[in-house]
Amino acid sequence: MGVLTGELFVLSITPDPWFLRFLFLLFGCGLVTYLVLTRKGRHIHIRRIPGLDKIDEAVGRAVEMGRPVWFVPGIGSLQDAGTLTAMGLLEKAATLCARYNVRLMVALVSPVLVPVMTSIVREAYRAENKLEDYNEDDIRYLPGGQFYFAIAAMGWMRRERIAASMLFGAFFAEALMLSETAQQLGAIQIAGTQQAMQIPFLIATCDYVLIVEEYLAAHAYIRREPVHVASIRTQDLLKALMMVLTVVGVVSATLYLTGVVEADFIERMVEDFIHPGRWFQGG
Protein backbone atom coordinates (compact mmCIF):
# COMPACT_ATOMS: atom_id res chain seq x y z
CA MET A 1 0.00 0.00 0.00
CA GLY A 2 2.87 2.31 0.85
CA VAL A 3 4.22 1.89 -2.64
CA LEU A 4 0.83 2.49 -4.21
CA THR A 5 -0.05 5.64 -2.29
CA GLY A 6 3.49 6.84 -2.78
CA GLU A 7 3.15 6.44 -6.55
CA LEU A 8 -0.23 8.16 -6.58
CA PHE A 9 1.20 11.03 -4.59
CA VAL A 10 4.07 11.26 -7.04
CA LEU A 11 1.57 11.25 -9.90
CA SER A 12 -0.18 14.33 -8.55
CA ILE A 13 2.81 16.33 -7.34
CA THR A 14 6.04 15.43 -9.15
CA PRO A 15 5.29 13.24 -12.12
CA ASP A 16 7.82 11.10 -13.89
CA PRO A 17 9.92 13.06 -16.46
CA TRP A 18 8.56 10.81 -19.19
CA PHE A 19 5.03 11.74 -18.25
CA LEU A 20 5.96 15.44 -18.40
CA ARG A 21 7.56 14.97 -21.81
CA PHE A 22 4.42 13.23 -23.00
CA LEU A 23 2.27 16.11 -21.72
CA PHE A 24 4.56 18.66 -23.34
CA LEU A 25 4.38 16.99 -26.72
CA LEU A 26 0.64 16.50 -26.38
CA PHE A 27 0.31 20.18 -25.63
CA GLY A 28 2.35 21.10 -28.70
CA CYS A 29 0.34 18.80 -30.97
CA GLY A 30 -2.94 20.08 -29.54
CA LEU A 31 -1.91 23.69 -30.03
CA VAL A 32 -0.95 23.14 -33.66
CA THR A 33 -4.16 21.17 -34.37
CA TYR A 34 -6.45 23.78 -32.84
CA LEU A 35 -4.50 26.59 -34.48
CA VAL A 36 -5.04 25.01 -37.90
CA LEU A 37 -8.73 24.47 -37.14
CA THR A 38 -9.32 28.05 -35.96
CA ARG A 39 -7.40 29.48 -38.90
CA LYS A 40 -9.66 27.46 -41.19
CA GLY A 41 -12.59 29.28 -39.65
CA ARG A 42 -13.89 26.72 -37.20
CA HIS A 43 -15.64 28.40 -34.29
CA ILE A 44 -14.41 27.38 -30.86
CA HIS A 45 -16.59 28.45 -27.99
CA ILE A 46 -14.98 30.00 -24.93
CA ARG A 47 -17.21 30.39 -21.90
CA ARG A 48 -17.83 33.83 -20.46
CA ILE A 49 -15.56 35.10 -17.71
CA PRO A 50 -17.67 37.68 -15.87
CA GLY A 51 -14.71 39.35 -14.18
CA LEU A 52 -13.17 40.29 -17.51
CA ASP A 53 -16.45 41.51 -18.95
CA LYS A 54 -16.75 43.84 -15.95
CA ILE A 55 -13.55 45.76 -16.70
CA ASP A 56 -15.57 48.04 -18.97
CA GLU A 57 -18.17 48.48 -16.24
CA ALA A 58 -15.50 49.35 -13.68
CA VAL A 59 -14.05 52.04 -15.94
CA GLY A 60 -17.60 53.27 -16.65
CA ARG A 61 -18.23 53.62 -12.95
CA ALA A 62 -15.03 55.63 -12.55
CA VAL A 63 -16.28 57.92 -15.36
CA GLU A 64 -19.59 58.46 -13.56
CA MET A 65 -17.92 59.17 -10.24
CA GLY A 66 -15.16 61.31 -11.74
CA ARG A 67 -12.56 59.42 -9.74
CA PRO A 68 -9.51 57.40 -10.84
CA VAL A 69 -9.03 53.79 -11.80
CA TRP A 70 -6.39 51.94 -9.80
CA PHE A 71 -4.27 49.17 -11.30
CA VAL A 72 -1.60 46.97 -9.67
CA PRO A 73 0.15 44.33 -11.86
CA GLY A 74 1.05 42.27 -8.80
CA ILE A 75 4.31 42.18 -6.92
CA GLY A 76 5.88 39.43 -9.02
CA SER A 77 8.91 39.81 -11.23
CA LEU A 78 8.80 40.59 -14.93
CA GLN A 79 9.17 36.93 -15.93
CA ASP A 80 6.28 35.82 -13.74
CA ALA A 81 3.34 34.42 -15.75
CA GLY A 82 0.98 36.55 -13.65
CA THR A 83 2.87 39.75 -14.45
CA LEU A 84 2.98 38.88 -18.16
CA THR A 85 -0.78 38.38 -18.13
CA ALA A 86 -1.28 41.61 -16.20
CA MET A 87 0.47 43.52 -18.97
CA GLY A 88 -2.26 42.57 -21.42
CA LEU A 89 -4.94 43.61 -18.94
CA LEU A 90 -3.16 46.89 -18.22
CA GLU A 91 -3.21 47.58 -21.94
CA LYS A 92 -6.99 47.08 -21.98
CA ALA A 93 -7.57 49.19 -18.87
CA ALA A 94 -5.34 51.98 -20.21
CA THR A 95 -7.14 51.93 -23.57
CA LEU A 96 -10.53 52.30 -21.88
CA CYS A 97 -9.27 55.01 -19.51
CA ALA A 98 -7.79 56.95 -22.44
CA ARG A 99 -10.99 56.56 -24.44
CA TYR A 100 -13.26 57.79 -21.66
CA ASN A 101 -10.90 60.37 -20.15
CA VAL A 102 -10.48 58.67 -16.80
CA ARG A 103 -7.35 58.96 -14.76
CA LEU A 104 -5.43 55.67 -14.48
CA MET A 105 -3.12 55.13 -11.51
CA VAL A 106 -0.61 52.29 -11.69
CA ALA A 107 1.44 51.21 -8.67
CA LEU A 108 4.61 49.18 -9.27
CA VAL A 109 6.76 47.29 -6.82
CA SER A 110 9.85 46.83 -8.96
CA PRO A 111 11.94 49.38 -10.88
CA VAL A 112 12.30 46.80 -13.67
CA LEU A 113 8.58 47.03 -14.33
CA VAL A 114 8.56 50.81 -14.65
CA PRO A 115 9.83 51.19 -18.25
CA VAL A 116 7.69 48.27 -19.46
CA MET A 117 4.43 49.39 -17.85
CA THR A 118 5.06 53.02 -18.76
CA SER A 119 5.51 51.97 -22.35
CA ILE A 120 2.29 49.94 -22.33
CA VAL A 121 0.19 52.78 -20.91
CA ARG A 122 1.73 55.40 -23.18
CA GLU A 123 1.15 53.23 -26.26
CA ALA A 124 -2.47 52.68 -25.25
CA TYR A 125 -3.00 56.44 -24.94
CA ARG A 126 -1.22 56.98 -28.25
CA ALA A 127 -3.44 54.39 -29.95
CA GLU A 128 -6.50 56.33 -28.75
CA ASN A 129 -4.97 59.65 -29.90
CA LYS A 130 -5.00 60.89 -26.31
CA LEU A 131 -1.28 61.19 -25.70
CA GLU A 132 -1.79 64.66 -24.23
CA ASP A 133 -3.84 63.08 -21.40
CA TYR A 134 -1.09 60.63 -20.52
CA ASN A 135 0.53 61.49 -17.20
CA GLU A 136 3.72 59.63 -16.31
CA ASP A 137 3.36 60.71 -12.66
CA ASP A 138 0.43 58.32 -12.36
CA ILE A 139 2.66 55.32 -12.96
CA ARG A 140 4.59 55.10 -9.74
CA TYR A 141 7.29 52.88 -8.40
CA LEU A 142 6.64 52.39 -4.69
CA PRO A 143 9.96 51.10 -3.37
CA GLY A 144 11.00 49.04 -0.38
CA GLY A 145 9.40 45.66 -1.07
CA GLN A 146 6.13 43.98 -0.23
CA PHE A 147 4.83 45.79 2.86
CA TYR A 148 6.38 49.18 2.14
CA PHE A 149 4.71 48.94 -1.23
CA ALA A 150 1.42 48.01 0.44
CA ILE A 151 1.44 50.90 2.89
CA ALA A 152 2.42 53.44 0.20
CA ALA A 153 -0.23 52.04 -2.14
CA MET A 154 -2.93 52.22 0.53
CA GLY A 155 -2.05 55.83 1.26
CA TRP A 156 -2.17 56.72 -2.43
CA MET A 157 -5.52 54.97 -2.88
CA ARG A 158 -7.03 56.83 0.07
CA ARG A 159 -5.71 60.25 -0.96
CA GLU A 160 -7.06 59.95 -4.48
CA ARG A 161 -10.28 58.16 -3.45
CA ILE A 162 -10.24 55.65 -6.28
CA ALA A 163 -13.50 54.51 -7.90
CA ALA A 164 -12.32 51.22 -9.39
CA SER A 165 -9.56 48.86 -8.39
CA MET A 166 -7.94 46.24 -10.59
CA LEU A 167 -5.50 43.87 -8.92
CA PHE A 168 -3.99 41.50 -11.47
CA GLY A 169 -0.84 39.46 -11.01
CA ALA A 170 1.10 37.68 -8.30
CA PHE A 171 -0.06 38.77 -4.86
CA PHE A 172 0.82 37.58 -1.40
CA ALA A 173 -0.07 38.90 2.07
CA GLU A 174 -0.48 42.46 0.79
CA ALA A 175 -3.43 41.40 -1.40
CA LEU A 176 -5.86 41.71 1.49
CA MET A 177 -4.48 45.10 2.52
CA LEU A 178 -4.97 46.54 -0.95
CA SER A 179 -8.37 45.00 -1.62
CA GLU A 180 -9.74 45.82 1.83
CA THR A 181 -8.67 49.45 1.47
CA ALA A 182 -10.43 49.67 -1.89
CA GLN A 183 -13.49 48.02 -0.33
CA GLN A 184 -13.55 50.64 2.43
CA LEU A 185 -13.40 53.35 -0.25
CA GLY A 186 -16.43 51.82 -1.97
CA ALA A 187 -14.54 51.06 -5.16
CA ILE A 188 -15.68 48.38 -7.59
CA GLN A 189 -13.01 45.72 -7.54
CA ILE A 190 -11.80 43.14 -10.05
CA ALA A 191 -8.93 40.90 -9.08
CA GLY A 192 -7.11 38.01 -10.65
CA THR A 193 -4.16 36.00 -9.48
CA GLN A 194 -2.48 32.66 -10.01
CA GLN A 195 -1.64 32.48 -6.30
CA ALA A 196 -4.20 29.98 -5.01
CA MET A 197 -3.55 30.94 -1.38
CA GLN A 198 -4.77 34.49 -1.96
CA ILE A 199 -8.01 33.55 -3.72
CA PRO A 200 -10.12 33.28 -0.49
CA PHE A 201 -9.01 36.75 0.65
CA LEU A 202 -9.77 38.29 -2.72
CA ILE A 203 -13.17 36.59 -2.86
CA ALA A 204 -13.99 38.03 0.56
CA THR A 205 -13.16 41.58 -0.51
CA CYS A 206 -13.55 41.94 -4.29
CA ASP A 207 -16.62 42.10 -6.52
CA TYR A 208 -15.17 39.85 -9.23
CA VAL A 209 -12.28 37.45 -8.98
CA LEU A 210 -10.51 35.57 -11.76
CA ILE A 211 -9.42 32.28 -10.28
CA VAL A 212 -5.97 31.02 -11.28
CA GLU A 213 -6.40 29.63 -14.80
CA GLU A 214 -9.22 32.06 -15.62
CA TYR A 215 -6.73 34.78 -14.87
CA LEU A 216 -3.92 33.23 -16.90
CA ALA A 217 -6.32 32.91 -19.85
CA ALA A 218 -7.46 36.54 -19.46
CA HIS A 219 -5.36 38.10 -22.16
CA ALA A 220 -6.28 35.39 -24.64
CA TYR A 221 -9.96 35.85 -23.71
CA ILE A 222 -9.76 39.56 -24.46
CA ARG A 223 -7.80 39.24 -27.70
CA ARG A 224 -9.68 36.24 -29.17
CA GLU A 225 -7.15 35.74 -31.92
CA PRO A 226 -6.85 32.20 -33.39
CA VAL A 227 -3.61 31.47 -31.57
CA HIS A 228 -5.09 32.53 -28.24
CA VAL A 229 -8.27 30.52 -28.71
CA ALA A 230 -6.20 27.51 -29.75
CA SER A 231 -4.00 27.76 -26.66
CA ILE A 232 -7.00 27.96 -24.31
CA ARG A 233 -8.61 24.99 -26.05
CA THR A 234 -5.41 22.96 -25.72
CA GLN A 235 -5.21 23.90 -22.06
CA ASP A 236 -8.76 22.58 -21.61
CA LEU A 237 -7.81 19.37 -23.40
CA LEU A 238 -4.94 18.76 -20.99
CA LYS A 239 -7.15 19.62 -18.05
CA ALA A 240 -9.65 17.02 -19.21
CA LEU A 241 -6.82 14.48 -19.39
CA MET A 242 -5.79 15.41 -15.84
CA MET A 243 -9.34 14.92 -14.65
CA VAL A 244 -9.54 11.49 -16.26
CA LEU A 245 -6.22 10.48 -14.67
CA THR A 246 -7.40 11.76 -11.30
CA VAL A 247 -10.59 9.70 -11.52
CA VAL A 248 -8.58 6.63 -12.58
CA GLY A 249 -6.28 7.16 -9.61
CA VAL A 250 -9.13 7.57 -7.14
CA VAL A 251 -11.04 4.52 -8.45
CA SER A 252 -7.96 2.31 -8.56
CA ALA A 253 -6.90 3.30 -5.04
CA THR A 254 -10.43 2.66 -3.75
CA LEU A 255 -10.60 -0.75 -5.46
CA TYR A 256 -7.30 -1.72 -3.89
CA LEU A 257 -8.12 -0.44 -0.42
CA THR A 258 -11.47 -2.26 -0.44
CA GLY A 259 -9.74 -5.47 -1.53
CA VAL A 260 -11.54 -5.81 -4.86
CA VAL A 261 -8.30 -6.10 -6.80
CA GLU A 262 -4.79 -7.23 -5.94
CA ALA A 263 -2.09 -4.73 -5.08
CA ASP A 264 0.15 -6.08 -7.80
CA PHE A 265 -2.40 -5.38 -10.51
CA ILE A 266 -2.89 -1.79 -9.42
CA GLU A 267 0.81 -1.16 -9.07
CA ARG A 268 1.43 -2.44 -12.58
CA MET A 269 -1.40 -0.30 -13.93
CA VAL A 270 -0.12 2.80 -12.15
CA GLU A 271 3.41 2.16 -13.31
CA ASP A 272 2.25 1.72 -16.89
CA PHE A 273 0.44 5.05 -16.61
CA ILE A 274 3.22 7.11 -15.13
CA HIS A 275 6.24 5.38 -16.64
CA PRO A 276 5.53 5.29 -20.37
CA GLY A 277 9.33 5.46 -20.79
CA ARG A 278 9.36 1.72 -20.04
CA TRP A 279 7.50 1.16 -23.29
CA PHE A 280 10.49 2.50 -25.20
CA GLN A 281 12.95 0.50 -23.14
CA GLY A 282 10.96 -2.70 -23.46
CA GLY A 283 10.40 -2.78 -19.70
Binding site: T85, V112, V114, P115, F147, Y148, I151, Q183, E213, A220
Partner: protein, 225 residues
Protein backbone atom coordinates in the same frame (compact mmCIF):
# COMPACT_ATOMS: atom_id res chain seq x y z
CA UNK B 1 15.61 44.01 -38.21
CA UNK B 2 13.04 45.72 -35.98
CA UNK B 3 13.35 45.80 -32.19
CA UNK B 4 10.28 43.58 -31.78
CA UNK B 5 11.73 40.94 -34.12
CA UNK B 6 15.01 40.89 -32.22
CA UNK B 7 13.09 40.31 -28.96
CA UNK B 8 11.02 37.51 -30.48
CA UNK B 9 14.03 35.81 -32.04
CA UNK B 10 16.04 36.02 -28.81
CA UNK B 11 13.18 34.54 -26.80
CA UNK B 12 12.72 31.75 -29.34
CA UNK B 13 16.41 30.77 -29.47
CA UNK B 14 16.78 30.98 -25.69
CA UNK B 15 13.69 28.82 -25.21
CA UNK B 16 14.77 26.16 -27.73
CA UNK B 17 17.78 25.28 -25.59
CA UNK B 18 15.71 24.56 -22.50
CA UNK B 19 13.15 22.59 -24.48
CA UNK B 20 15.92 20.42 -25.96
CA UNK B 21 17.40 19.84 -22.49
CA UNK B 22 13.96 19.00 -21.16
CA UNK B 23 13.12 16.58 -23.95
CA UNK B 24 16.39 14.68 -24.41
CA UNK B 25 18.36 15.50 -21.25
CA UNK B 26 19.13 12.41 -19.16
CA UNK B 27 17.75 9.85 -21.62
CA UNK B 28 19.97 9.86 -24.65
CA UNK B 29 23.73 9.84 -24.07
CA UNK B 30 25.52 10.44 -20.82
CA UNK B 31 28.28 12.26 -22.66
CA UNK B 32 25.71 14.71 -24.03
CA UNK B 33 24.46 15.48 -20.53
CA UNK B 34 27.92 15.89 -19.05
CA UNK B 35 29.90 17.50 -21.84
CA UNK B 36 27.27 19.58 -23.59
CA UNK B 37 24.40 20.39 -21.25
CA UNK B 38 26.61 20.29 -18.16
CA UNK B 39 28.94 22.92 -19.61
CA UNK B 40 26.51 25.06 -21.54
CA UNK B 41 23.80 25.40 -18.88
CA UNK B 42 25.94 27.30 -16.30
CA UNK B 43 27.10 29.71 -19.03
CA UNK B 44 23.53 30.08 -20.17
CA UNK B 45 22.22 30.86 -16.70
CA UNK B 46 25.04 33.39 -16.24
CA UNK B 47 23.97 35.14 -19.42
CA UNK B 48 20.38 35.25 -18.14
CA UNK B 49 21.62 36.74 -14.85
CA UNK B 50 23.58 39.41 -16.71
CA UNK B 51 20.52 40.30 -18.80
CA UNK B 52 18.41 40.47 -15.63
CA UNK B 53 21.01 42.80 -14.08
CA UNK B 54 20.81 45.01 -17.13
CA UNK B 55 17.03 45.09 -16.70
CA UNK B 56 17.49 46.25 -13.10
CA UNK B 57 20.00 48.82 -14.32
CA UNK B 58 17.52 50.12 -16.90
CA UNK B 59 14.90 50.32 -14.15
CA UNK B 60 17.19 52.29 -11.84
CA UNK B 61 18.24 54.69 -14.61
CA UNK B 62 14.58 55.16 -15.47
CA UNK B 63 13.71 55.97 -11.85
CA UNK B 64 16.51 58.54 -11.70
CA UNK B 65 15.43 60.15 -14.97
CA UNK B 66 11.76 60.35 -13.98
CA UNK B 67 12.40 61.78 -10.53
CA UNK B 68 15.17 64.16 -11.55
CA UNK B 69 12.80 65.44 -14.21
CA UNK B 70 10.09 65.93 -11.57
CA UNK B 71 12.43 67.86 -9.26
CA UNK B 72 13.84 70.07 -12.02
CA UNK B 73 10.38 70.89 -13.38
CA UNK B 74 8.94 71.39 -9.87
CA UNK B 75 6.00 69.11 -10.57
CA UNK B 76 3.42 68.37 -7.84
CA UNK B 77 4.90 66.51 -4.84
CA UNK B 78 8.45 66.95 -6.16
CA UNK B 79 9.62 66.81 -2.52
CA UNK B 80 8.80 63.09 -2.48
CA UNK B 81 11.20 62.56 -5.35
CA UNK B 82 14.01 64.13 -3.31
CA UNK B 83 13.26 61.72 -0.45
CA UNK B 84 13.26 58.73 -2.81
CA UNK B 85 16.51 59.64 -4.55
CA UNK B 86 18.20 60.56 -1.25
CA UNK B 87 17.20 57.24 0.33
CA UNK B 88 18.47 55.40 -2.72
CA UNK B 89 21.83 57.18 -2.70
CA UNK B 90 22.26 56.75 1.08
CA UNK B 91 21.50 53.01 1.00
CA UNK B 92 23.65 52.53 -2.09
CA UNK B 93 26.54 54.28 -0.29
CA UNK B 94 26.06 52.15 2.82
CA UNK B 95 26.07 49.01 0.68
CA UNK B 96 29.32 50.07 -1.00
CA UNK B 97 30.88 50.78 2.42
CA UNK B 98 29.87 47.34 3.60
CA UNK B 99 31.20 45.73 0.44
CA UNK B 100 34.59 47.46 0.76
CA UNK B 101 34.75 47.14 4.56
CA UNK B 102 36.75 44.60 6.54
CA UNK B 103 35.11 41.19 6.66
CA UNK B 104 34.26 40.42 10.32
CA UNK B 105 34.72 37.08 12.08
CA UNK B 106 31.85 34.64 11.41
CA UNK B 107 28.86 35.59 13.58
CA UNK B 108 30.26 39.05 14.36
CA UNK B 109 28.72 42.26 12.95
CA UNK B 110 30.50 44.68 10.65
CA UNK B 111 32.14 47.51 12.52
CA UNK B 112 32.22 51.24 11.89
CA UNK B 113 30.81 52.68 8.68
CA UNK B 114 30.77 49.18 7.12
CA UNK B 115 28.05 48.26 9.63
CA UNK B 116 25.71 51.12 8.66
CA UNK B 117 23.92 49.05 6.03
CA UNK B 118 23.12 46.21 8.44
CA UNK B 119 22.18 48.75 11.12
CA UNK B 120 19.55 50.39 8.89
CA UNK B 121 18.23 47.03 7.69
CA UNK B 122 18.05 45.21 11.04
CA UNK B 123 17.28 48.14 13.37
CA UNK B 124 14.88 50.12 11.21
CA UNK B 125 13.57 48.32 8.14
CA UNK B 126 12.87 44.93 9.72
CA UNK B 127 10.85 46.54 12.52
CA UNK B 128 8.91 48.78 10.16
CA UNK B 129 8.18 45.78 7.97
CA UNK B 130 6.90 43.77 10.94
CA UNK B 131 4.73 46.68 12.04
CA UNK B 132 3.08 46.93 8.65
CA UNK B 133 2.65 43.17 8.52
CA UNK B 134 0.89 43.23 11.88
CA UNK B 135 -1.75 45.54 10.39
CA UNK B 136 -2.87 42.51 8.43
CA UNK B 137 -4.69 41.16 11.48
CA UNK B 138 -7.10 44.10 11.38
CA UNK B 139 -7.66 43.71 7.66
CA UNK B 140 -8.36 40.01 8.12
CA UNK B 141 -10.90 40.76 10.85
CA UNK B 142 -12.61 43.39 8.73
CA UNK B 143 -12.74 41.13 5.65
CA UNK B 144 -13.92 38.15 7.69
CA UNK B 145 -16.80 40.17 9.06
CA UNK B 146 -18.03 40.83 5.54
CA UNK B 147 -17.35 37.28 4.35
CA UNK B 148 -19.48 35.87 7.17
CA UNK B 149 -22.63 37.61 5.97
CA UNK B 150 -25.05 35.00 4.66
CA UNK B 151 -26.33 36.24 1.31
CA UNK B 152 -26.98 32.95 -0.42
CA UNK B 153 -26.35 29.24 -0.36
CA UNK B 154 -22.65 29.55 -1.23
CA UNK B 155 -21.90 32.14 1.44
CA UNK B 156 -23.89 30.06 3.94
CA UNK B 157 -21.74 27.00 3.20
CA UNK B 158 -18.62 29.11 3.53
CA UNK B 159 -19.82 30.57 6.82
CA UNK B 160 -20.65 27.15 8.30
CA UNK B 161 -17.20 25.89 7.29
CA UNK B 162 -15.55 28.95 8.82
CA UNK B 163 -17.49 28.58 12.09
CA UNK B 164 -16.48 24.91 12.34
CA UNK B 165 -12.82 25.81 11.77
CA UNK B 166 -12.98 28.66 14.30
CA UNK B 167 -14.66 26.59 17.02
CA UNK B 168 -12.29 23.69 16.43
CA UNK B 169 -9.41 26.04 17.24
CA UNK B 170 -10.80 26.48 20.78
CA UNK B 171 -9.23 24.36 23.56
CA UNK B 172 -9.78 20.71 22.68
CA UNK B 173 -12.02 20.06 25.66
CA UNK B 174 -14.58 22.64 24.49
CA UNK B 175 -15.55 21.08 21.16
CA UNK B 176 -13.63 17.81 20.80
CA UNK B 177 -15.82 16.44 18.00
CA UNK B 178 -15.23 19.49 15.83
CA UNK B 179 -11.51 18.86 15.70
CA UNK B 180 -12.02 15.80 13.52
CA UNK B 181 -14.61 17.55 11.34
CA UNK B 182 -12.16 20.37 10.74
CA UNK B 183 -9.40 17.93 9.86
CA UNK B 184 -11.62 16.24 7.29
CA UNK B 185 -12.69 19.56 5.83
CA UNK B 186 -9.07 20.55 5.55
CA UNK B 187 -7.61 17.27 4.34
CA UNK B 188 -10.39 16.15 2.03
CA UNK B 189 -12.17 19.16 0.61
CA UNK B 190 -9.54 21.84 0.91
CA UNK B 191 -6.70 19.69 -0.38
CA UNK B 192 -8.74 18.54 -3.36
CA UNK B 193 -9.71 22.10 -4.28
CA UNK B 194 -6.17 23.38 -3.93
CA UNK B 195 -4.83 20.57 -6.10
CA UNK B 196 -7.40 21.40 -8.76
CA UNK B 197 -6.31 25.04 -8.61
CA UNK B 198 -2.67 23.98 -8.79
CA UNK B 199 -3.35 21.94 -11.93
CA UNK B 200 -4.99 25.00 -13.46
CA UNK B 201 -2.09 27.21 -12.44
CA UNK B 202 0.54 24.96 -14.00
CA UNK B 203 -1.41 24.46 -17.20
CA UNK B 204 -2.13 28.18 -17.47
CA UNK B 205 1.52 29.04 -16.83
CA UNK B 206 2.66 26.56 -19.47
CA UNK B 207 0.24 28.12 -21.96
CA UNK B 208 1.46 31.65 -21.24
CA UNK B 209 5.10 30.51 -21.41
CA UNK B 210 4.56 28.68 -24.68
CA UNK B 211 2.84 31.67 -26.26
CA UNK B 212 5.71 33.90 -25.13
CA UNK B 213 8.35 31.47 -26.34
CA UNK B 214 6.86 31.08 -29.79
CA UNK B 215 6.37 34.83 -30.07
CA UNK B 216 2.67 34.39 -30.71
CA UNK B 217 1.62 36.32 -27.62
CA UNK B 218 0.62 39.51 -29.34
CA UNK B 219 0.91 41.40 -26.11
CA UNK B 220 2.01 44.95 -25.48
CA UNK B 221 5.48 43.66 -24.64
CA UNK B 222 5.99 42.51 -28.21
CA UNK B 223 4.03 45.21 -29.94
CA UNK B 224 4.88 48.43 -28.15
CA UNK B 225 7.24 50.53 -30.21
Amino acid sequence: MSKVRIIRLTVLIAGIYFVVVFLIGGIWKESLDEKVFGEITPVYTDVIRVIALFAIGVGVVNIFMVHTHRIVRGRPNWEHSIVLLSAFIVMFTFAILKWTGTQPEPGQPYEGVAGLFDYVVTRIMVHMNSTIYSFLAFFVASAALRAFRVRGLESAVMMIGAVIVLLSMAPETAFPFLFEVRERLDLWLNTAVFRALTFGMYLGSITVALRMWLGIERSALFEAS
